[in-house]
Symmetry: C2
Subunit: 376 residues, 2 copies
């Protein structure tokens, strides 16, 4: 029996909207999780993040285990108390950052050994250690299994090998996690862009049994079209009664296409990272506030927004802050972008409930593709 | 007749507490003005600044005239509207930054010609142009006359020459400013650390007649003791019925000593600048959050504070943010420091009203001097 009740309130085609209920609060799906890498959603207070409507944020095991260390977070009362975020937190397993940020020393069936990108110190991560860090030390609400990722391009044999090792690590993760009432464990589907490997992965995960299922190994450079092709089959391979989480995605257009194909949860650094670089996401695509055309534009980014950053400041002022490298510019654009992503999810939840997601999706695609600044 | 009524409610020795009433709100004195250099109090939203209890902020003419330009600010509705701060703003004249940041090409009786530190472009500032920028384009509530500063060390002859030119520029500023109901003009006393020059400067300013009087040319490297020596006589040379403003000061200990000697207004970048560098000001002196002794310190910076930054976050978390170079660390420490400076001013206002400033001052001095981290 799954830890957290997941209620699907409405569907349209393969898309679903519902609620994942956790002891720390309800997560309305489809949900976007702002990324709080190192115990902070970059540049924002938790009050600012909460004002965007975010029900859950993501924390990074890799960053936190290196600094301030998971043991220190535990001694300070766990991640929620340490960073003052009382709603749910999902933590990743550390596997992705080990691959993308650190120098890997060795991957064996038992463990991955890597060097910290901060100081070169050597660390070992096993499926069991990742569970201990996430569930026991950080106190995460949704815990991810450790998986093995392949860098692209990869042969089918290499992709299959990593997928099967990930499944074995999923079983070890489940054994280490045990039975918990107030925390959930998600498995991760791998298999790259090869349909039968995605199918085999889903089958192996289903046999183990998780509280939710993530789609891993996408948004790693394969491109929008290749990702959408995988999403044409991969979500439906996963148990329909549990939440499906597309890891590390993405641009709004990616999220819309994935929701359309049955995905329930997302996370991405894009809104905060692009906000720190002067970019604002809008219903007409991304705009760069550095652009001189905003220098005397008195309009706000979104006058209908619930948050001050989007509603109260002129583009002219934001342009000035960005041009002047002022921290407040990074704060306001990060805040606006997360609010925009939350507004996008809210709009899709309402659209599914009202049976108009297909209309929304067509309109969103055409506006996004017409945008002059659409390159990120 | 002065533009803004200044009511002194209580005195203790030479110290005074009162209210300077402006159309945009009351300024409780002694007052500390956070510095909003380029149209932003660095790293903070105006709501965060207001939550500290700040009645007025300072804007920099030099920075704003170069970027986004005073004309653009005017077209966007003036500085208050542009940056969303509806309480009073004092602007400096640009003279200090021309000296400290730019490459001066030429100073004549007519004008100062300088090159922008941003792009090397050439600009001319006259007393009349400074008034136009501050009063007409930015829409400042309290406008400062342009003055000429000497770099230290300076001969008495050079100091006297700059002081007399400043007085002549004060007269030109007054003529350009004219009579205004909703804006005030402050003159600036110069004369370095030479008592009779300070006296001559005060006499010249008094003859011109201003709405308030600043003490300029201090906190420019002369040291705490030399500054306090000047403050033993300089404030009393200025009209007692008008506010006295000590420009660019300073550390809490400097402010306490200046209030004791009859100064009413202050500004300094110290709280925001030191906040961006991991330093927090406390009643026991400054502390550096990078210090390992805070790594697992669960206590907040000030549990009695009105602002979240001081009250709600553990020093352990702030230590983690500072060590990780997270923007939120800069935000929270800037916010805390401004709140601390405002709490210090509120405490001194109450102490003067209750006749216990001398007790407060002795206690504050001994705690500040006992602090192990007292070096900035």
């Amino acid at each position: 029996m799954a830890a957290f009740p997941f209620t699907i309130a409405a569907t349209e085609g393969r898309a679903r909207t519902g609620v994942l209920a956790t002891p720390r609060g309800e997560i309305r799906t489809p949900a976007f999780m702002p990324v709080g890498t190192a115990g902070t959603v970059k540049a924002l207070t938790v009050e600012q993040v909460a004002a965007t409507g975010a029900d859950i944020i993501l924390g990074n095991t890799y960053h936190l285990m290196l600094r301030p260390t998971a043991e220190r977070v535990a001694r300070m009362g766990g991640l929620h108390r340490f960073m003052r975020w009382q709603k749910p937190i999902l933590t990743d397993s550390g596997g992705f950052q080990v691959m993308s940020l650190s120098k890997i020393s060795k991957v064996t069936e038992e463990a991955v050994t890597f060097q910290s990108h901060l100081d070169g110190s050597r660390h070992v991560l096993t499926p069991e250690r990742s569970i201990e860090i996430q569930a026991d030390l950080l106190g995460s609400d949704i815990v991810m299994q450790l998986d093995e990722l392949t860098s692209l391009p990869a042969t089918e044999a290499r992709t299959a090998e990593a997928m099967r090792r990930s499944a074995r690590w999923g079983a070890r993760s489940k054994a280490a996690f045990g039975a918990r009432d107030s925390q959930a464990l998600f498995g991760i589907q791998q298999g790259g862009t090869t349909e039968h490997l995605r199918g085999e992965s889903a089958e192996r995960l289903r046999e183990i049994g998780f509280d939710g299922y993530a789609i891993g190994g996408l948004a790693v450079g394969e491109g929008h079209e290749a990702m959408v092709e995988v999403l044409d089959y991969a979500p439906e391979m996963l148990p329909p009664e549990r939440p499906r989480y597309l890891m590390g995605v993405g641009k709004p257009i990616d999220i819309v296409e994935a929701v359309w194909r049955g995905v329930d949860m997302f996370d991405c650094v894009l809104p905060t990272r692009s906000g720190r670089h002067g970019q604002a996401w809008t219903w007409d695509g991304p705009i760069n506030l550095k652009n001189a055309r905003f220098a005397e534009d008195d309009s706000p980014l979104d006058e209908a927004s619930a948050v001050s950053a989007s509603r109260d400041y002129s583009k002219a002022y934001l342009h000035h802050l960005v041009k002047s490298d002022e921290i407040l510019g990074q704060v306001l654009l990060s805040w606006h972008n997360i609010a925009f992503f939350q507004a996008l999810m809210a709009e899709m939840r309402a659209a599914i409930a009202e049976g108009r997601l297909e209309t929304f999706r067509r309109s969103f695609r055409s506006r996004a593709l017409a945008s002059s600044d659409s390159a990120t």
